[in-house]
Symmetry: C2
Subunit: 219 residues, 2 copies
Amino acid sequence: MVQIEEDILGRNNEYAAANRRWFGEHGILALNLVSSPGSGKTTLLTRTVDALKAELALSVIEGDQQTANDAERIRETGVRALQINTGKGCHLDGHMIGHALETLRPDDGSVLFIENVGNLVCPAAFDLGEAHKVAILSVTEGEDKPIKYPDMFHAADLVLLNKIDLLPYLQFDVDRCIEYARRVNPGIKVLQVSATSGAGMDGWYRWIRATQQLALIGQ
Amino acid sequence: MVQIEEDILGRNNEYAAANRRWFGEHGILALNLVSSPGSGKTTLLTRTVDALKAELALSVIEGDQQTANDAERIRETGVRALQINTGKGCHLDGHMIGHALETLRPDDGSVLFIENVGNLVCPAAFDLGEAHKVAILSVTEGEDKPIKYPDMFHAADLVLLNKIDLLPYLQFDVDRCIEYARRVNPGIKVLQVSATSGAGMDGWYRWIRATQQLALIGQ
């Protein structure tokens, strides 16, 4: 069983490495958005795409077990989106992304958002070739998620602490949540945002811009 | 023996985590420059400091087994530098950096360059709390270094392929060297530079600027 798992992950890493190389050659910034179901990923992504589409070339890969609803929400912004349905699968993998790139063909120098299947466990182990995993954590989920799902918060470079407009109505200790995230990943960044009110979203856009600048530098 | 090594690395990781947290709280970008002896690190750093000191707050920690020559070379630029002599030690460690920070006290929002002891092995294992390891590889060293010292090139996020002004006089296959670096680290960036002629250095400065912007974002 362990052997099979290692083989699967090993093969995935090869596909992910090929994707990463391709992104590097084309100056494409690929971001892998991971979260629990219902964290507000698609709302956050729709707002982000609307805010940045005039200044950056963007495209989106949406992952869900079923339905193309999310890709349709993104397409309404005018940005190209491709839906992957994983069926019984609980995460996207490097091979699926490789195939999606053949169809989507993101522009050189563009930003590709990959919205993973809502799941705080399995997507942590499957590299897609992205530059960064970005974890979206809604304050309605409780501040203990980083220590309950340490693999995910260890794998992510940025946490978007979403739905902060609801903080007045919740028992949620922001400092404790950040402390928990740092415990599993001392270098992790945390931005407090609300995708519905727009609060804090400017920090996320600045992060994307600076990260995209980095994607354009070097071979 | 393995147990002792694990204990030492475990303790180092605690010191490094404390440094990383402190850098994060103060918006300081810490870069750990690693290379073989004689790769041109100090020349590269001196030129970098001269180019950026007007626009960014900078400071430097120099690591060498003996002598304070390198810190003196940096101080001639007008930028603060602190020398650490490791004596018999072949690398800087998290504890040394923590103490150095107490003396050096880098400004909030500044860039701290840490020039490690010239060594392509030991510094790879010792996290200092830096945001990125930057490996300097001189083209006079041969293109096989990434596969001969995979730990270092796996740990680094950026390679500065230095002394490219000497390429006309050498048998050095740049593409093969980059391919070797990618083999051990598919996400690694490679910039071709000459610290003496200045060729390619603008890409490195752009990388520093964008990375420093990221250090200012988030908690």
